[in-house]
Amino acid sequence: MTAANGTSVSIQNLSLNFGAVSVLQTLNLDVAEGEFIVLLGPSGCGKSTLLNCIAGLLDVSEGRIFIKGKNVTWEEPKDRGIGMVFQSYALYPQMTVEKNLSFGLRVAGTPKDEIAKRIARAAEILQIEPLLQRKPAALSGGQRQRVAIGRALVRDVDVFLFDEPLSNLDAKLRAELRVEIKLLHRKLLNTMIYVTHDQIEAMTLADRIAVMKGGVIQQLDAPQTIYNRPVNRFVAGFLGSPAMNFIDGRLENADGGWRFAADTLKIPLGTYDFAGDPTPGPVVFGIRPEHVSLNNGTGWPFSTAANVEVVEPMGSDTLVWLKLAQQNFSVRVTAERTPNNDEAVTVGFDPMRASLFDAATGTRI
């Protein structure tokens, strides 16, 4: 009734408690038709709980949920027009793949030929035609995952919910399936809400990412915005691998401009884009390892000298660890330009690429 038009899923003031434990707190979220939303956050932040609320598998304590403009807060899961893929696949072990796919349809009493048609289509999209007569135990992890997706697919629903569908797989398989899901979304144009705690998945798949922590959505934005302009220190630290470097220090007003100072390190912030009116005080300075350069000329707005401590080759790139203002600091360089341990190097970066956070509240300045 109050859901905005064009929104597919709208969550209003949702709260959920398990007994005395409050897991979700007056949460609001609007998902547009056909949008791909990723819920990202550390373990235990309430992602699965939120998804289960949307699916109707948990009774909400407070608030309302709309799907396609209809209030479904107290609707049964099957009446919500959703399909869900579970973290552990949750395939019915005693049924063949085909039976797994058709179960929901058979329960709903869909005609036989219609069932066959839909299974054929899903099997084709997911390339699992040769597996239809096998039981889940005889499938590899990736194949199981596809069947689980297929089970949601055949039900022809408006909203797909994915709960960490790839987290059990090894890196290679994960990468493959990520592409498949992306292509699937392109083909179907359904609304998708996808839970993960893997930021690569989040970055590659999402139209918008909701970063959650402790049952609260910290930031809801396009992946690049979240990556480049995190609203608080938690979001900044949670995204990116290797993680953003943080240096504790103070914001000072010097020489008519603002600058960051920690120990002997002084970083002028001339190019930094402040979120509001800055005031001097303790802050945290953050910059991503890939936005820092090593031994790369002097053309940087800021550069300083440091000693290499540890070198971590990662195949394609190498992570170089050193100390700035007595604090650990990492730099990502290409494998060819790797310095040696204990080598003296020059560190340079553009403060424009940095993020400044209030030391107390953690919010972006």
Binding site: M1, F18, G19, D59, R64, K70, N71, V72, T73, W74, E75
Partner: protein, 295 residues
């Protein structure tokens, strides 16, 4: 019609509630109802038939001055302690032995389990024989030349309750073993490996690591054993009928005897009320802790 308002909680999970009606009726009508009925009539002087002729606490007074009841309680405590400890220990030991990847596991398991299938009406008699000093084990051993050997647990008042446990263990440990074996098989293989790498001897691994991990199994087992202990009846009847004298009487037998032999329902009900009361005091708080909390 869309259910936009919070529906009446009475109708949430209606099917589950409907399906639980047998359980609710059993718990509510039979167990609670039956118990209340029993308690009510324990304040009467009902004889052969239940009659509401109240006599206050007379039945309880009589109960607690009856030597047989006091002995029954004492016996139940001893028997309970013994069969609890030994069922668990022997059951676990057998399970641990069978878990050593031995040959003929199936055969051994069946041997340990078969007594569970046999009615005690007669196996009690067999145990009576076996433990009979005149023609049982004592007789055989003495016949082998060990003249001073004495083993007559069923015929010696001071140890008869221990003697009864011998047959109780014989009948009951098989099931416990199966439960334990199942529990052992559920322990993560890596725990064993970790203990081996740590150089922890097998028995210590069982004692300090595996057993604490099998808590849920022990709980299920405990409920099964404990309910068996409280209800112990035919075991005693079949072996000693409470004798020698009244040395091996147990509460359930007291209840039964006074309800049906003595035709003094009130007395039987008073005794069973006492039994139930102690069960409730022990079980209810524990059960709430164990089962009441969320998964």
């Amino acid at each position: 019609m869309s259910k936009s308002e919070r529906p009446n909680p009475l109708f949430r999970n209606l099917n589950a509630k409907v399906a639980s009606i047998p359980m609710i009726l059993t718990a509510g009508v039979v167990f609670v109802g039956g118990t209340l009925w029993t308690v009510l009539y324990s304040f009467t002087n009902s004889k052969l038939l239940p009659r509401l002729n109240f006599v206050g606490l007379d039945q309880y007074y009589r109960l607690w001055v009856t030597p047989r009841w006091l002995i029954s309680i004492e016996n139940l405590l001893i028997y309970g302690a013994i069969s609890l400890v030994f069922s668990l220990v022997i059951g676990f030991l057998l399970a641990a032995l069978l878990d050593q990847k031995i040959r003929f596991e199936d055969t051994f398991r069946t041997i340990f389990l078969y007594p569970f299938a046999l009615s005690f009406i007669v196996t009690g008699l067999v145990w009576q024989w076996l433990l009979n000093p005149d023609f049982g084990i004592q007789h055989v051993v003495q016949g082998l030349g060990w003249e001073s050997f004495s083993f007559d647990p069923l015929y010696n008042s001071s140890i008869v309750i221990y003697g009864i446990s011998i047959a109780a263990l014989w009948q009951g440990t098989g099931l416990i073993m199966c439960l334990m074996l199942a529990g052992l098989r559920g322990i993560d293989e890596d725990i064993w490996k970790a203990a081996r790498v740590d150089g922890i001897p097998m028995w210590k691994t069982y004692l300090f690591i595996v057993i604490p991990m099998m808590r849920p199994v022990f709980i299920t087992t405990l409920v099964i054993i404990a309910s068996g202990i409280v209800k112990v009846y035919d075991l005693v009847v079949a072996q000693t009928s409470g004798g020698p004298g009244i040395a091996s009487e147990v509460p359930a037998k007291y209840v039964y005897d006074y309800m049906f032999f003595a035709q003094n329902l009130g007395q039987g009900f008073a005794a069973s009320t006492m039994m139930l009361l102690s069960v409730v005091i022990v079980i209810v708080p524990w059960a709430y802790l164990e089962f009441g909390r969320r998964k």
